[in-house]
């Protein structure tokens, strides 16, 4: 799964422009399952299992990632931009980006610390005052390479470091996609639906239509969730910890989860010796928000991989957590199919 994840993270796929990721996933699952692509671009996959389940099961991950979008080219040839999805301005100053299909390199400019007044030295400029510099001489020069509406992604290689950690861009939620691909390639006990959704980062839009089409009885969202197990953060605010396994949520900003599903997850984790942990802080949201309230309602659970520095160019996960998430999702899917 690590190699799969590396390939997935190398692809650009900001919200609304997920085609590279979708085409790659199709290339990986062809021959293992049936699939179709809906009007919004969701990839909906049906995989036959050994048996027909009592309940219709849907497992979801999103293909899109946060990024930037060029809004305007100034007379001097600088690019004004907006963020796609929630990006903290503190993590984008002085970073390299790649713009559009051709990956034109650019940098987010920063006024040197030498020319700042003392009181300005810790102040993060507003997004409105930031720009991307591609080295263009003027507007005409920039227009040869860039159009408003072009997306940009951060420059960040897939790097393994420390004791089993990975740093990369877009781990949210290519890690979930890697888990789903692995499941689709494996033998399944029951027929299952897998959806690779679009536009999660801009308001759970793909999941809404995908859940409507599939109309499942049970859904499992496979995600990454924010981990704050870092220096200077007290234990009760750490949310979850890298290396402690699959994160199970009882509530986040988009969903109050079905309590019996939540309890069942921990029972199964104990029974099958899967490392699982509680998400101990109510924050963030994901596709479960759109899925659980779809149609007449869907029993939904989110299983996440803990991820530090979420939505920054340098997301960090722990390799061993991927296996725990995989085991957890597979067991839960079988359990819910027959519940």
């Amino acid at each position: 799964m690590i190699n799969q994840l590396k390939s997935l993270c190398a692809l650009s796929g900001v919200s609304g422009r997920e085609e590279n990721v979708r085409n790659y996933i199709i290339s990986q699952i062809s021959g293992f399952a049936e699939y179709n692509v809906d009007a919004l671009g969701n990839l909906i996959v049906f995989k036959k299992g050994a048996d027909i389940p009592k309940n219709k099961i849907m497992i979801a991950s999103h293909m899109d990632e946060v990024g930037l979008i060029v809004t305007y080219i100034t007379d001097d040839g600088y690019l004004k931009f907006d963020t796609i999805g929630g990006i903290d301005t503190r993590v984008i100053l002085g970073r390299k980006v790649y713009i559009g299909e051709d990956g034109i390199p650019g940098v987010i400019g920063i006024k040197p610390v030498h020319v700042l007044k003392d009181e300005e030295k810790a102040i993060i400029p507003d997004l409105d005052n930031l720009f991307i510099d591609i080295g263009a001489l003027n507007k005409e020069d920039a227009e040869k390479y860039i159009n408003p509406g072009d997306f940009a992604i951060f420059d960040s290689d897939f790097t393994e470091f420390g004791d089993g950690f990975i740093k990369a861009r877009a781990l949210d939620d290519r890690a979930g996609c890697a888990v789903l691909i692995e499941m689709i390639k494996s033998e399944l006990h029951y027929d299952s639906y897998f959806v690779f959704t679009v536009q999660e980062e801009v308001g759970l839009r793909g999941a809404k239509t995908a859940a409507f089409s599939v109309a499942p009885d049970y859904a499992i969202v496979v995600e990454t969730t924010t981990a704050a197990d870092i220096s200077g953060v007290s234990k009760e605010k750490q949310v979850c910890r890298l290396g402690d396994g699959a994160v199970i949520s009882f509530m986040d900003r988009s969903t109050v989860y079905n309590r019996s599903l939540y309890d069942r997850a921990f029972d199964l984790a104990e029974k099958y010796k899967i490392k699982a942990q509680v998400k101990t802080y109510i924050a963030g949201g994901n596709d479960a928000g759109a899925i659980h309230s779809s149609g007449a309602g869907v029993r939904t659970l989110t299983v996440s991989l803990p991820c530090r520095y979420l939505h920054s160019p340098s997301c960090v996960i722990c390799k061993s957590d991927i296996d725990e998430v995989y085991k957890m999702v597979k067991i839960l899917a079988e359990e819910f199919a027959n519940a």
Partner: protein, 341 residues
């Protein structure tokens, strides 16, 4: 292949050698190897790389600093996170979630911690965290980290070098590896010309922490004229126009009460005579470069300052134009050839 292929490769190779202030080992090793191609060279007590070529004419010293801004390890906390302080004028606004290398017994990759938005209080997003609130995540326990790293190890921003449009390149440490590369390029140009002056070259250490290298190296060289090659601010949308040169418009010749006005005029005249584009950089006093230290070292030396316009100074994405470096090298070479005129 671009017109400046060789120059680009040299600048990037040089900038890739780590050299945080006081820990210039790798950059100095590269500088020594390159400088020895042109003249006998050695390393002094502080770590400056100094070379000298004899000549009958006046003694000219060329200086560029080889250190870069960075950080320094202060301790390792119980969770294995590396606490640090600045080493040179590091900008705290670029640090959150930035990739770094910690230079311990071996180079160790890490990411500077960034507190996720859910823990932020109102307006936190507008304020960068200070050094005492930051740490490097190296994905190791305290025990394991302590085997490889210790207090005093340097940290540098990790960022790759990339070509932008035209002849512009971006990446870390062009301040002042681009200046040092310009001197090496000048020496390469001089190989095929004759000149009469006695030439010293100094690749100095610890500029970013106050210029100790230039102070001692300038004393040892004891030259009649010194030319300091550094980088200076290039115009960008958020920059004050009066403090900036323009990228791609040639080297900036410094004029200030502390810089020698005769050398300034001569540099300007030589640039004009040789059709080398250049711009003036006017400062009201001290220059904030090694020129300040070298001018007053020993019994003093006439000093000039040439700067490469650079954007985003002290970040991992400094931008320069290769043409400006080439033009600076040509201006230096022309000055040296006229040194005895």
């Amino acid at each position: 292949m671009s017109e400046y292929y060789n120059l680009e490769k040299m600048i990037i190779d040089f900038a890739n050698e780590s050299g945080p202030a006081g820990g210039e080992f790798f950059a100095a090793k590269y500088a020594l190897k390159e400088l020895e191609k042109y003249m006998p060279a050695s390393v002094d007590a502080l770590g400056n790389v100094i070379g000298e070529k004899s000549g009958e004419g006046p003694h000219i010293l060329l200086d560029a600093h080889i250190d870069q801004v960075g950080m320094i390890v202060t301790s390792i906390d119980d969770g294995g996170f590396i606490k640090f302080d600045k080493c040179g004028g590091m900008d705290i606004r670029v640090l959150a979630a930035h990739e770094v290398i910690v230079w311990g017994k071996q180079p160790v990759f890490g990411v500077i911690v960034s507190t996720p938005p859910h823990l932020a209080k109102k307006d936190d997003e507008k304020k960068a965290k200070d050094f005492d609130e930051l740490a490097v995540d190296i994905g190791m326990s305290k025990e394991k980290a302590s085997e490889i790293l210790s207090a005093g190890d340097r940290i540098t921003l990790k960022s790759s070098h990339k070509k932008l449009l035209g002849n512009q390149i971006c990446g870390p440490a062009f301040d002042d590896r681009a200046g040092a590369a310009a001197i090496l390029r000048c020496l390469e140009i001089l190989e095929s010309h004759s000149y009469n002056c006695r030439l010293s070259v100094m690749f100095s250490v610890q500029e970013e922490t106050g210029g100790s290298g230039a102070k001692t190296g300038g004393y040892s060289a004891n030259a009649e004229e010194s030319i300091v090659v550094d980088v200076s601010f290039a115009m960008a949308p958020d920059m004050p126009k009066e403090k900036c040169g323009e990228i791609g418009k040639g080297p900036m010749i410094g004029i200030s009460p502390t810089l020698d006005s005769g050398m300034f005029s001569k540099l300007k005249k030589i640039a004009k005579a040789n059709n080398i584009p250049c711009q003036c950089e006017v400062m009201g006093g001290r220059t904030g470069t090694n020129a300040d230290e070298i001018q007053t070292s020993g019994n003093g030396t006439k000093t000039a300052l040439l700067s490469i316009p650079l954007k985003n100074m002290h970040s991992g994405v400094e931008i320069i134009d290769l043409q400006d470096v080439e033009n600076l090298a040509e201006l230096l070479a022309a000055y040296i050839m006229k040194g005895d005129a």
